[in-house]
């Protein structure tokens, strides 16, 4: 009896459930912890799109998709555990945290599994010559910083000379990312940069806003996440900072960030790299075939939010890459290396987006061996508190590549030297 119990217990702990489906996508979600308000909509959107494919098309190329959810709580240690537990049959990792991305960059490269950090993580992973297995699509933080400055410059009539821009950022690897680019841009355009750090998790930022009130910057940029965003927007409303001069990065611009502030958040802007709203055919199919059918990952209340759409975006690009990998390799049961090859030559045209039921949802994507990011465009969206919706204000804009690309080259080569990597030629 005792041995039986012990054997059962050991089997339980080892937890090695056999893989049923061949297309296993582990998702490192965080539905708990201080960042959950931003994590839940994304996780729901990602799962629901995969469910839609399974229900509508029977998976991809005849293979069902098996999503393996693993809860990280945005915690690096748990993320590592999740990776180790699922790496045996994981096709691709979307780490969902800059910290976990930094963990996985060397690990996944050694295990030959592609990692896609969806507009977060290490910016210099754009250099595909050095980072063979890592992708940072569709746009990076450094691009984002440049787009935000470019937008501010257009608003100011073409010049930022003598202006002051404050950056309020999460005091972590994620928040520090744009500083280097902004410093280069401030030199180029002659504005003064005022970086203000906010410590984890971000509720404590009274003193930073006091400083903003005193220094009166012309613009405030924000690199925040989770609870930090709503507190910042509330504080900005409290000191009556003009909301249309307050621009967040794409992680600081979803319903969870502005709804709690109410009318005070009206006019707040943020960057984005995909469309808003739920008026896309594929989104409507998700509504009818997944959420209304009771198969949604969440309770359906996040449907159509910015975070939810981001999950749909990530799932759509991932599954499209899988489909192209199946075409290129000629087999339906692809390996992680097949997927990597497909991602490196990934092409999603405007027409293809329409075919997928997402016309105009995001700009066309075209990745190359040397540049693991595409299309590197971001738009500015604005919150309309009365209607309760985000609206894209601008077209998708290009960053200042003259500033960003040399920085990417410099940082990635430094990494290559540190890690002993001989860059590929990409001929």
């Amino acid at each position: 009896m005792k041995t039986k119990l012990l054997a059962a217990l050991t089997a339980t702990i080892m937890g090695a459930a056999p893989a049923l489906a061949d297309l296993t996508i582990p998702t490192l979600n965080y539905r708990t912890g201080p960042y959950a308000p931003s994590g839940i909509p994304y996780a729901d959107g990602f799962s629901d799109y995969l469910t839609l494919l399974n229900e509508r098309d029977g998976g991809i190329g005849g293979e069902m998709i098996d999503e393996k959810e693993c809860e990280t709580g945005y915690n690096t240690e748990k993320g590592v555990e999740c990776y180790e537990q699922t790496k045996a049959d994981g096709l691709i990792y979307i780490p969902q945290s800059t910290g976990i991305t930094y963990q996985l960059i060397p690990k996944a490269s050694a295990d030959n599994i592609p990692v896609w950090s969806v507009a977060y993580g290490r910016t210099s992973a754009v250099n595909g010559k050095v980072f063979e297995w890592i992708f940072n699509m569709p746009v990076t933080y450094w691009d984002g910083a440049s787009v935000a400055v470019k937008y501010a410059m257009e608003e100011e009539g073409g010049s930022l000379d003598g202006k002051k821009i404050a950056l309020i950022y999460h005091n972590s690897a994620y928040g520090k990312e744009p500083i280097r680019t902004l410093e280069a841009l401030s030199e180029k355009h002659g504005f003064e940069l005022l970086p203000l750090a906010v410590d984890h998790p971000g509720q404590e930022q009274k003193s930073q806003w006091l400083q903003i009130r005193r220094e009166r910057p012309d613009y405030v940029l924000m690199w925040g996440w989770g609870v930090m965003n709503q507190v910042a927007i509330q504080e900005a409303a409290n000191i009556r900072f003009p909301m249309d001069k307050f621009i967040g990065v794409w992680w600081s611009g979803s319903e969870a960030d502005v709804v709690p502030v109410g009318a005070g958040a009206n006019g707040y802007k943020s960057l984005n790299f995909h469309g808003t709203g739920s008026e896309f055919p594929a989104m409507q199919e998700i509504k009818s075939m997944v959420i209304d059918a009771g198969m949604g990952a969440g309770d359906g209340s996040k449907f159509g939010e910015v975070g939810y759409n981001r999950g749909v975006f990530a799932a759509a690009v991932t599954t499209e890459a899988i489909r192209q990998a199946q075409e290129a390799s000629g087999k339906s049961d692809i390996s992680p290396s097949d997927l990597r090859d497909a991602m490196e030559s990934l092409e999603i045209t405007e027409d293809r987006w329409s075919e997928m039921g997402l016309p105009g949802f995001a700009p066309a994507i075209s990745v190359t061996c040397a540049v693991h990011s595409s299309p590197r465009l971001a738009a500015v969206q604005q919150w309309d508190a009365e209607a309760g919706e985000w609206n894209l204000l601008t077209d998708f804009m290009e960053p200042d590549f003259d500033v960003v690309d040399p920085l990417i080259e410099e940082d990635s080569m430094a990494y290559a030297a540190e890690a002993g990597i001989e860059p590929r030629s990409c001929e």
């Binding site: 339980t12 702990i13 080892m14 937890g15 459930a17 979600n29 539905r31 708990t32 839940i40 959810e69 693993c70 809860e71 709580g73 915690n75 690096t76 240690e77 590592v80 555990e81 180790e84 537990q85 790496k87 800059t98 910290g99 930094y102 963990q103 960059i105 060397p106 690990k107 490269s109 050694a110 290490r122 910016t123 005091n171 972590s172 690897a173 994620y174 520090k176 990312e177 500083i179 280097r180 750090a197 410590d199 984890h200 940082d411 540190e418 890690a419 002993g420």
Partner: protein, 358 residues
């Protein structure tokens, strides 16, 4: 029956004061060591070695370190996370500044550097104790994390402020870096665990340990009988920080490989290690291991049962884990405030008399 003392005659002083005076205990200890060194590395899979055993071993070192300070010397500390960060950043700076030196020495040097920092923050303990000291060490925690975030020198001016461990080897086998095998990492940490546990055990039963315990039990009485409080308290801070620094260095270099100070070495880490020694048992080396095992393994076990076996939603399981762990901690502390080590001690007493308790 299990613990027969008949026939266990002690004929020398050395035999009388050995760590495991009962033969059965001693053999069991040898068996555990043999299994840990000779069997485990060959049978575990990657997941077990790198996601479960490594954190367990490393937390055990940290718990031993804190136990020396809090359990043996009675100085409450909430700065464990900060001191672990000192170990990690010292190790990173040493690894990148002197790439040719064996990582083994880097880890020990990191421990020594942390010992120095620990002594510095231990100085207030001469004037204050109890809650006041806890708050002073809390200040150390926040100051150190702030420092490593603020000064770019510590992270070699990298854009993101992350530090990542380059590949380093011991006897030609890779210990750190992405391609290091799980078995090598496990054995490397195991070596440190065995060494630290052995040192800690011998320190605590020697004259230094007796001085610590005298200070813990009643510092004024200890001073009257000739214990120097300055030397005892600071030595406790130094030794404790040394172990905690080693744990921090291993945590960064061997286990995670890349670290962001605010997240990994935040205040949560201090509490976690404190929970470990409280649940495991204050003032016990075995308790440090038991507490580390409890805190590290239970969530993994619960996760695999709830999600892997029952197929429950991951967020539900994550919330349940927190609740179950919290509940168990409370139940434990109500039923046995001296921790797992005391439970083990009682079991042992019972087994010694079994089956004739009267």
């Amino acid at each position: 029956m299990f613990y027969r003392e008949a026939g266990d005659f002690k004929t020398t002083y050395a035999k009388d004061s050995q760590t495991f005076p009962i033969r059965f205990d001693r053999y069991r200890y040898y068996v555990v060591m043999a299994v840990a060194i000779l069997v485990v590395p060959f049978v575990v899979n990657d997941y077990w070695a790198s996601a479960v055993l490594l954190p367990f071993l490393i937390y055990a070192i940290a718990a031993i370190g804190l136990n020396i300070l809090t359990g043996y010397c009675g100085q409450v500390s909430l700065g464990t996370g900060g001191f672990m960060a000192v170990g990690a950043y010292a190790c990173y700076k040493l690894m990148t500044a002197m790439p040719d030196v064996n990582i083994f020495f880097h880890v020990i040097l990191s421990g020594l550097i942390t010992a120095g920092v620990g002594v510095l923050f231990g100085l207030p303990s001469l004037r204050i104790k109890g809650f006041y000291l806890a708050v002073a060490t809390l200040a150390a925690q926040f100051f150190l994390v702030w420092l490593f975030n603020k000064v770019p020198w510590f992270y070699n001016n990298s854009a993101s402020g992350q530090i990542s461990a380059p590949t380093r080897t011991v006897f030609g086998a890779e210990v750190t870096g992405p391609t290091a095998s799980a078995e090598v990492k496990y054995l490397f940490c195991l070596a440190f665990v065995i060494a630290t546990a052995w040192i800690a055990r011998n320190l605590t039963r020697g004259s230094l340990g007796r001085k610590w315990m005298a200070i813990r039990d009643m510092d004024i009485a200890a001073e009257i009988i000739g214990v120097n409080p300055l030397a005892s308290k600071l030595s406790a801070f130094a030794v404790s920080s040394f172990f905690v620094g080693i744990a921090g260095a291993l945590f960064f270099a061997v286990y995670l490989g890349a670290v962001e100070v605010g997240e990994v070495y935040g205040i949560n880490k201090s509490f976690l290690v404190l929970f470990m020694i409280i649940i495991g048992g204050l003032g016990s080396i075995f308790g440090s291991f038991a507490g580390a095992a409890f805190i590290v393994l239970l969530p993994v076990f619960l996760k695999n049962v709830l999600v892997g076996q029952f197929g429950w939603a991951t967020d539900l399981a994550a919330h349940l884990e927190i609740m179950i762990l919290g509940l168990l901690i409370i139940v434990f502390l109500v039923l046995e405030p001296h921790g797992l080590a005391q439970l083990w001690r009682i079991t042992k007493e019972k087994l010694r008399l079994w089956p004739f308790p009267h």
